[in-house]
Symmetry: C2
Subunit: 377 residues, 2 copies
DNA sequence: ATACTTTTGTAAATAACTTATCATAAGTGG
DNA sequence: CCACTTATGATAAGTTATTTACAAAAGTAT
């Protein structure tokens, strides 16, 4: 059992729920005898362990198998605009250790990258490290060329496009590295951890900016050049249009994103610089802030309605800082979705707030790294 | 070689381009020796045949293998609002025989279904039938519950939801049957036949109604309940809103679809009842028609821009009757897409008209049936 | 408790696949 | 023509998986 990541049974259990031997057989396409033998081998090697038994259907109940969460660790990194979170996980995604780094995306990328790598190294070898690290995932606030493992250009991360991020980190840290866009990874974590049965899933992140992740048939949808889910600059905002930070007019971000709400609140004399402070004002009950959030939710709702019409997901989940407004944010979205979409698309659609919290990014990064354990790189 | 559909090599070649032995090995994960043996066995059985040789890269050129197009036939059915097309294909999708049926979707579904089945049976056993029929695919103008193999309710096909279409046809015709939405299947055919290298693909059908099909990573995106691609009732049309046939206001269909253009042209005194007649007027150069088509193309362009922003396809293709307007239809779409989407999403995006013609529906149906040959039903 | 169902374990014979090696075929570039 | 490269074919030995058959375990229904 040199590299368990190559074993199809182990891989199946890595990225999915616990399964019975019978399910494993059908999924990996092995006969009952062979599957049973290999399950036993994996169990003897300590890579997998017994899970709960399933309910009996008139016969002996099937027992399930799951990965041994303590066999390896994972590292997730979530790079934000001013801060990066670096988390050491067990394979079962328990948080073992964590560090927050202040970073500046406009500073020298190589230096920032080295700071992240050094931090990951500290966690990997620190007191809380219970096992070798099997892989590292990074969530970045930029479009990602997923196959190349680097930031797609042009992006907001000036200078980062030049770096072969995956290769650099892999040689620096001696472990497999996987990259993806932060919203994609938040979507992945929310779906895998909180909506495991939902195979058609849309996650809208409403924070400083607005973006979305989409899962169809259980697979993250990445698009041809890594820009899928870039819904912040869709142009359907109400008149009068306002200037967006992308230079165009009419983008929904310019009316509904955290930065735009902060801008408007500042113009009204509030001390409010970013999405987080918008939510603070909101919680304190500032009426002008509530009005803005309500308007924002309806604008986001128009795009949500488009997403539902196009993709026909089974669940639509709102995350990001602004989703802290809870039902208020959902109300506008529900209003627009139910108003604008056909009943067939909405009657079985679930709409809700993200159940995951501020760790969704690192969790998604770790899930990605876990899914790629042992994959050819 | 009882059922060749179970052979992974045969299946690979069924739904893909000709491949060299080397490519086949890697795709199906067999060693060179075994793959070679099985390729030879398939060739001896007449299921596959040699294709062209690839260009040499300094050594002996690799020869490719492709399916034997004459080993089996396929039937595709494209059900429209007033007409159904039933086509007998070879496995290589050459047209062997064809029939057009007048139908009425509002009539008794069982009777219509029987007419289709009888027609399929005639073609399957007729003079032009060169081989046994391996499967039948049907394109229907309704949302399809793909896993159940029936029309999802509620739909425009009143009464059809009650029928277990797949089971009925399978037992009636004694062959595997696959169903899908017509736009999905047009999308599939256009991509597989005319854009085989493009794995992220969006197809907009602008005819009597407006809908789209989406392919990501080479897979048709069907959504949770079969309504994906239902973009006709997205609400972004310009003021003043007009009443849509769905009962809402502001749907793009009510401004940009064939039925809406016909309605407007009629109101202006033209004799114009459907999308086809709109195109006839257009070709004759009627100025009021040209103006309407231009406006329509820009409205479709707004939705196209949303699709591009969300899905980041590598190609966006316009089909359906209205795409007969050619560059005029493309112009408005290009205008909106380039105006509204970020450069990263558009700089490598191809926008064009469908290369396939009026047989796209039946071709897609046949491709679907072919892909499912031997699959568990 | 008894009959029934479904899951799991084991062993032996058979079938399939892989690895390794050698030989041959059919191109390219000089 | 010759050296070099890549593709293909054939064979043997060794490994792994499948099939078949029997038995036991652990539940449910009556």
């Amino acid at each position: 059992m040199e590299n368990p990541g190559h074993d199809p049974i182990y891989r199946l259990l890595l990225d999915g729920p616990p399964r019975s031997a019978r399910e494993i057989e059908t999924h990996v396409g092995l006969s009952r005898v062979t599957a049973g033998q290999r399950i036993k081998a994996l169990a003897r090697a300590g890579l997998i362990a017994e899970g709960d038994s399933l309910a009996s259907g008139g016969g002996r109940p099937a027992r399930t198998w799951r990965i041994n969460p303590h066999h390896r660790n994972l590292i997730g990194i979530d790079v934000g605009e001013q801060m990066a979170r670096v988390t050491l996980f067990s394979l079962g995604l328990d948080v073992l250790d964590e560090a927050l780094l202040e970073i500046d995306l406009r500073a020298d990328p190589a230096r920032t990258l080295e700071a992240l790598a050094a931090c990951a190294e500290r966690l990997a070898t620190g007191d809380r490290a219970s096992a070798p690290v099997a892989g590292l995932g990074i969530a970045l606030p930029a479009p990602i060329d997923y196959r190349q493992g680097r930031v797609a250009k042009p992006s907001v991360m000036y200078g980062w496009e030049e770096l072969d991020l995956r290769a650099l980190l892999r040689s620096r840290l001696k472990m497999p590295v996987a990259l993806d866009n932060d919203v994609n990874l938040m979507c992945l974590a929310e779906q895998r951890l909180h909506w495991p049965e939902t195979r058609h899933f849309v996650f809208i992140k409403a924070g400083t900016g607005i973006g979305c992740g989409m899962i169809t048939d259980g697979q993250l949808l990445r698009g041809a050049f890594g820009t899928s889910g870039d819904i912040g600059h869709i142009q359907h905002s109400p008149e009068p249009h306002r200037l967006c930070r992308c230079g165009k007019q009419g983008c929904i971000e310019a009316h509904a994103a955290g930065w735009a709400l902060a801008r408007d609140l500042q113009a009204q004399g509030n001390d409010c610089r970013d999405a987080r402070e918008v939510m603070q004002l909101y919680v304190r009950g500032a009426p002008e802030c509530r009005a803005l959030v309500n308007a924002s939710s309806r604008i986001i709702g128009t795009v949500a309605a488009d997403l539902v019409a196009m993709l026909n997901p089974a669940a639509l989940v709102i995350g990001g800082t602004l989703s802290g407004a809870g039902e208020a944010m959902l109300a506008g979205i529900r209003e627009r979705v139910y108003q604008r979409c056909l009943p067939l698309a909405t009657e079985r659609l679930q709409i809700g707030s993200a159940r995951g919290g501020e760790r969704l990014g690192v969790q998604g990064a770790a899930i990605l790294a876990r899914a790629q354990m042992g994959a050819p790189s």
